[in-house]
C-alpha cells in the first residue's frame, strides 16, 4: 500500500475542517470474510439456544415447552434481523466479523451514520441473502412442499445477482448499501513504528557515509518508499541485494564497500541503506519544501 500512489480503492472524504481523509474502500475479500465470520457466530448461537431450549422443554410440561418454542422462534427472528443492526449501531459501527477484518460501515456522504441507514442496509440483507437461502434450504430438506425446481433455479440466479453485485461497482456496494447511502471502509488501527531516519549514528563520532549530490539524486520518491518498505521488513537477503543494486547505481567506490571489517556484511549493508535512506529523504524533502515533488528516478527535477 503506497500512500501517494493513485490507488483505485481510495475515496475522498473531506472533514468539516477541510482535510481529505482518503478513506480506503474495503475489498471484496474482507467483506466476504467478515460476513462468513458473522454467519458462523449466528449459527453457533442458534445451535446453542436450540440446545438450551431443548433441555428446558424436556423438564417442562406442555405449556412450558410451548413457551420455549415461542421464545426460540422469536430469538431466531431477532438474531437474524438485529444481529447486524445492533453491532453496527455501536461506537465501532462494525459487527464482530467486520472488526476482525478491520473494516466498518460509514456514511457515503460523510457525517452521521444514522440508525435509519443501518436499518435500511440490513433490511435489504433479508432479500439479498436469507430469502434465496430459504428457497434452497426448503428444496433440500422439504422436497415435497411444492417449491419446484424452476423456482429454486430462479432463487439461485436471484441470489447470485445480489451476491455478485458488490463486484460490479467500484465502491463495492451491496444493494443494501446502495439504498442506505452507506459504504464499508477500512479502519485499521496502526501503530507508529520508529522513524528510520533516526537510526543510530556511528558511535565513533565521524560520519561514515557521505554522499555526493549526484549520488543522492539518483532516485525519487517512489524509490524512497520502496527503500522504506525494504528497511522495515528487514529481510537480510533483500537488504544485501538492494545494497549492491544501489551501490552499483550510484557508483559507490568498491574500496568503501565494507569499511568496517569487524562487522558482518549484513549489518554493514543495513547501515549503508539507513544512511542512504536518510540522505535521500533529506534531499527529497528539501525539494518538497520548495514545491518540487520528484516522482521517481525518471523525473529529472
Amino acid at each position: 500500500m503506497k500512500a501517494y500512489n493513485p490507488d483505485k480503492n481510495v475515496r475522498t472524504l473531506v472533514t468539516p475542517e477541510g482535510i481529505d481523509l482518503r478513506l480506503r474502500i474495503a475489498d471484496g475479500g474482507s467483506r466476504v470474510g467478515a460476513f462468513t465470520i458473522d454467519l458462523t457466530i449466528m449459527i453457533a448461537t442458534l445451535i446453542a439456544i436450540t440446545y438450551v431450549m431443548g433441555f428446558a422443554t424436556i423438564s417442562m410440561d406442555d405449556g412450558g415447552s410451548e413457551v420455549a418454542q415461542a421464545i426460540w422462534l422469536l430469538f431466531a427472528f431477532f438474531l437474524r434481523n438485529f444481529y447486524f443492526m445492533v453491532f453496527e449501531m455501536g461506537p465501532k459501527a462494525a459487527t464482530p466479523g467486520k472488526r476482525l477484518m478491520k473494516i466498518r460501515v460509514a456514511n457515503r456522504r460523510g457525517g452521521h451514520l444514522t440508525a435509519n441507514a443501518i436499518f435500511a442496509r440490513n433490511a435489504l440483507r433479508e432479500l439479498e441473502f436469507f430469502l434465496p437461502l430459504s428457497f434452497v434450504l426448503s428444496v433440500m430438506f422439504l422436497p415435497n412442499q411444492g417449491v419446484d425446481g424452476w423456482l429454486t433455479l430462479l432463487g439461485l440466479i436471484w441470489s447470485f445477482i445480489f451476491l455478485l453485485f458488490p463486484l460490479f461497482n467500484k465502491d463495492r456496494l451491496r444493494a443494501g448499501d446502495l439504498i442506505a447511502g452507506t459504504w464499508v471502509v477500512k479502519s485499521p488501527k496502526l501503530r507508529l513504528s520508529k522513524d528510520l531516519s533516526g537510526a543510530p549514528k556511528p558511535t565513533d563520532g565521524h560520519v561514515r557515509y557521505v554522499f555526493t549530490p549526484s549520488q543522492i539524486d539518483a532516485y525519487g520518491v517512489k524509490e524512497l518508499h520502496v527503500l522504506e518498505n525494504v528497511l522495515r521488513k528487514n529481510d537480510p537477503t533483500t537488504i544485501t541485494e538492494v545494497t549492491s543494486r544501489i551501490m552499483q547505481k550510484i557508483k559507490w567506490p568498491k574500496s568503501d564497500k565494507d569499511p568496517d571489517k569487524t562487522k558482518s556484511t549484513d549489518a554493514a549493508s543495513l547501515e549503508f541503506l539507513n544512511a542512504y535512506y536518510a540522505a535521500l529523504r533529506g534531499s527529497l524533502e528539501t525539494k518538497l519544501l520548495f514545491g518540487v515533488r520528484r516522482k521517481d528516478k525518471f523525473d529529472k527535477r
Partner: protein, 340 residues
C-alpha cells in the same frame, strides 16, 4: 547530511506525544461510549483531533515518511468517526425514534401510504366481487395453507367455529410468535423489493388485499359478514396498517429510483431508503403488537362488539399517534442535518 536531523523527523518527535494521547483516548472511547472519558478528556479530544489533522496536512506536504502519513491517516479517520459519528446513547436514540423519528417518517410518506391503501383495498374489492360472483375464485386467491378448513363447502356452523376458536388454545404463544415473524418478513420484503420501481411492493399490496377480500367474501356469502369483520379488525387494524405502511415505504424507494428529480438516481434512492427505513423499523414494532393481539386478544376476546371496540380503538390511536400535528422545536429540527 547527518541522520536524525531531518526537519520531518523533528516535526514528528515534537508532535508524537499528542498523537499517542489521542490514540489512547480513542481506544477508550471506542471500547465504551462517551461515558468512558472524563470532562477534561472530553474537552481535550477535539483539540487533539484538530492538532492531529493539522499534523496530517503538514506531513502530506513535507514528509516523505509514508509510515507516518499512513499512521496519521488511520488515526484521524478513527478520530473523525468517533467525533462526527454517533455518540447518542441507545436509550436516547430509541426514545427520540418513538417520540419523533417514526411518526415524522410516517407523515413524510403520507402520499405513498394513501396509494398503498388504495391498492390494498382495490385488491380486496376486486377479490370480493369476483368470489361473490363465482365461489371458485376463492381457491385462486387463498393459498391452501391459509384455508384451514375454511372453504366454500364448509357449513355456516363450521365457519362460525373458526372465527371463535382458531387453532387449539394451548398453541397461542407459538402461534403469536409465528405470526409475528411471518408478517415481519412480508413487511421487510414489501420494503426491500421497492427498489424495482415499486412494482413488487404494489403487487404485494394487491395480493394481500385480494386474500382479505376473498376471505371476507366467503363469510359474507354464509351470512357471517359482521362476525368476520370483528375477527379481522381486532388485529387487522394494527397488522394491515403495518403492512400497508411497509408497502408505502417500498413505493417511496421505487418512486425515488424511477423519478429521482434533481438528485442522481443513486443519491435519490439512498435518501428515500433511509427515510423509508425509519417507517419499516416502526412497522416491525407494530407487527409485534399485532402478533400479540392476534395470538392472545383474538382468542380470549370472543365477543364481536368487544372485538370491534378494541380494533377501532387501536386504529384511532395509531392515526392520532402518526398524524396528529406536532409543533415543537425538537420535531422541526429532527433529521434536518441528517442529509446535508
Amino acid at each position: 547530511m547527518s541522520s536524525g536531523s531531518l526537519k520531518s523527523h523533528k516535526f514528528r518527535t515534537d508532535r508524537e506525544n499528542d498523537w499517542k494521547q489521542l490514540e489512547t483516548l480513542l481506544a477508550r472511547l471506542e471500547s465504551r461510549s462517551i461515558g468512558a472519558l472524563s470532562d477534561g478528556e472530553m474537552i481535550a479530544l477535539p483539540a487533539l483531533y484538530r492538532a492531529t489533522l493539522s499534523s496530517l496536512n503538514v506531513a502530506r506536504a513535507t514528509s516523505l515518511d509514508q509510515d507516518v502519513i499512513i499512521y496519521l491517516e488511520s488515526l484521524t479517520t478513527r478520530a473523525y468517526f468517533a467525533i462526527y459519528g454517533n455518540q447518542t446513547r441507545m436509550g436516547t436514540r430509541i426514545s427520540r425514534f418513538f417520540r419523533i423519528g417514526w411518526p415524522k417518517a410516517v407523515q413524510d410518506i403520507t402520499r405513498e401510504t394513501i396509494a398503498s391503501t388504495l391498492v390494498f383495498f382495490l385488491g380486496a374489492l376486486l377479490a370480493f366481487v369476483m368470489v361473490r360472483t363465482n365461489m371458485d375464485w376463492y381457491f385462486s386467491f387463498i393459498p391452501e395453507s391459509l384455508m384451514g378448513g375454511r372453504t366454500p363447502a364448509s357449513t355456516v356452523t363450521e365457519l362460525r367455529d373458526t372465527l371463535y376458536h382458531d387453532g387449539d388454545e394451548s398453541g397461542l404463544t407459538m402461534f403469536a410468535s409465528f405470526l409475528f415473524s411471518h408478517n415481519s418478513r412480508v413487511a421487510i420484503f414489501a420494503f426491500a423489493l421497492g427498489f424495482a420501481f415499486a412494482i413488487p411492493s404494489v403487487a404485494l399490496m394487491l395480493y394481500n388485499g385480494c386474500t382479505i377480500g376473498a376471505f371476507v367474501a366467503l363469510f359474507v356469502d354464509k351470512g357471517l359478514g359482521f362476525e368476520v369483520g370483528g375477527w379481522l379488525i381486532i388485529h387487522g387494524a394494527t397488522e394491515l396498517f403495518a403492512i400497508i405502511l411497509a408497502g408505502a415505504a417500498g413505493i417511496k424507494i421505487g418512486w425515488a429510483v424511477a423519478f429521482p428529480g434533481e438528485r442522481s438516481r443513486i443519491d435519490a434512492a439512498s435518501h428515500a431508503g433511509t427515510q423509508a427505513a425509519a417507517v419499516l423499523g416502526g412497522v416491525i414494532v407494530m407487527l409485534f403488537l399485532a402478533g400479540l393481539l392476534e395470538g392472545f386478544g383474538r382468542q380470549l376476546v370472543t365477543n364481536d362488539y368487544a372485538r370491534y371496540a378494541i380494533g377501532l380503538t387501536t386504529l384511532g390511536l395509531w392515526l392520532i399517534y402518526f398524524y396528529l400535528p406536532r409543533d415543537n422545536d425538537e420535531w422541526h429540527e429532527y433529521g434536518s442535518g441528517e442529509f446535508s
